[in-house]
Symmetry: C2
Subunit: 276 residues, 2 copies
Amino acid sequence: MKTSKPARKANSPRAQGTPRPSNALLENYLLESAPAKALEAMKPHLQHVPLSLGHLIYAPMKPIREVFFPTAGLISVVATMKDGSTIEVGLVSKDGMAGVPLLLGVEFMRNEAMVQIAGSGYTLKAGIFTQILKQFPEYHQMLLRYVDSRMSQMAITAACNRLHHVEERLARWLLSVSDRVESDSFFLTQEFVATMLGVRRAGVTLAAGILQKAGLIDYRRGRMRIVDRERLEAAACECYEAGRADLLELYSAQGMAPSGGARSSRVKADAAGQAG
Amino acid sequence: MKTSKPARKANSPRAQGTPRPSNALLENYLLESAPAKALEAMKPHLQHVPLSLGHLIYAPMKPIREVFFPTAGLISVVATMKDGSTIEVGLVSKDGMAGVPLLLGVEFMRNEAMVQIAGSGYTLKAGIFTQILKQFPEYHQMLLRYVDSRMSQMAITAACNRLHHVEERLARWLLSVSDRVESDSFFLTQEFVATMLGVRRAGVTLAAGILQKAGLIDYRRGRMRIVDRERLEAAACECYEAGRADLLELYSAQGMAPSGGARSSRVKADAAGQAG
DNA sequence: TCGAGTCTGTACGCTCGCGAACTGAAAGAA
DNA sequence: TTCTTTCAGTTCGCGAGCGTACAGACTCGA
């Protein structure tokens, strides 16, 4: 159960420092791995903007005015019921983009999307983006693979939501977030987490308390820190590994060169091992 | 609460008899609404095959050899956990296709797919299908909208799985199935339903019992019948309406001309009414 | 330094759904 | 017919998570 290799530099926010080959400065994988010409065409229209905590990126059933390529922080796609209860159905970070429906020829969002961890990102006007897709079908094709990975994550989430317990789900979720923001500590209130997991705030307190007492995480007034990643992974449900494997899949298919928690080399082996 | 118009011919499996304009003989909306040339190119390679109950269409993590366009019956995409627990993450019928990843450039399924209600459908070899997509980008684009609708359904399901109770979910699910097979009665064991909803079999018995006593459904040894659709809709969670609105969305965008439960004209109004 | 606002810990009764049985009933085969 | 198999109904104790409420603790700004 214990991996011999140092799977991840613990506690070091933004551990990677090696610049990526070509378009590394952009700090968003979907932009970085764009064909050179497509990127060139986009560049003049890319606007780097801050993503501030809680900001509503998309309102449900409203047209998509622009797409977002985060470079830091985290965007959550959230489903809201009539009675106000909510739950997360998608997670977007520097390894992805918000505004996926545009890739499928649909011009509005069905769910709302909001900034969950502050950061920054590039925006691109919907019209221009659509143009780019037409102009560079290889890029469009690349991005469609990303859609598949999002679908896959959603399928896992759908199952996880039903079949697993709060504590495991919390562990899974924290790990996923950590992977995506490439840091072991980040700002999050329990209230917020509860919204994402679709449980009571008090439920999160309880679950987080257990994880904290066990020394897996450290939680203090909005600041969350993963202390023992190994054991937190053990505490998470299988969905974490499954999701991570999917991401890796995507990365290798796209020729991306990511670094960090979601990309430790043993994942692939694990996933393959349990496939049979 | 009661609609004046006869929203649906009750108890008559396959109630529609009016042939659809052009490619109506095909009985699958995604085929029927294909551009004429694309369809022509596909036709020689389409094989009409029976879909027999329980048949495994796709195994998880295996390459997609062929895509399926059902013409009757129902295919479920199911997520299975290590411990054997399962839950449905997608529903495919004559209004859709199985093998969506191919549309996104991914050549294997992440989840398994199986026949849940016997029927029939067309198969098309993956290689040929991929060719067609390249050759007819308009058709590919059309199908991508279908992907969006599947994603949307999945998002709803993910939320529903977490936030709603067995009884409402059962009602929703039965209605969805009924819409898709275009019949108010069909064969289903409680065991099977439990698998789809991700609950115990006994849980389904209980929920189904309540619905039956209330006179909404009629359930007898594998045969399921919707008795009072109106009230069953009222018993279902909001997710049913939401999903139905999405489907309608898709149909109108694609210029499809479907008939049956999912398409009663009042749906649009309802959906629009609650959008604000 | 104090107070307002925000976030977290905890408690209590309750409901839903679980796991694990066992019984009964229907359908199909011999 | 009788036997076997499959499906449905029901029970029981149990645990997870809910809704609600309140108290404590931290933070920030006045």
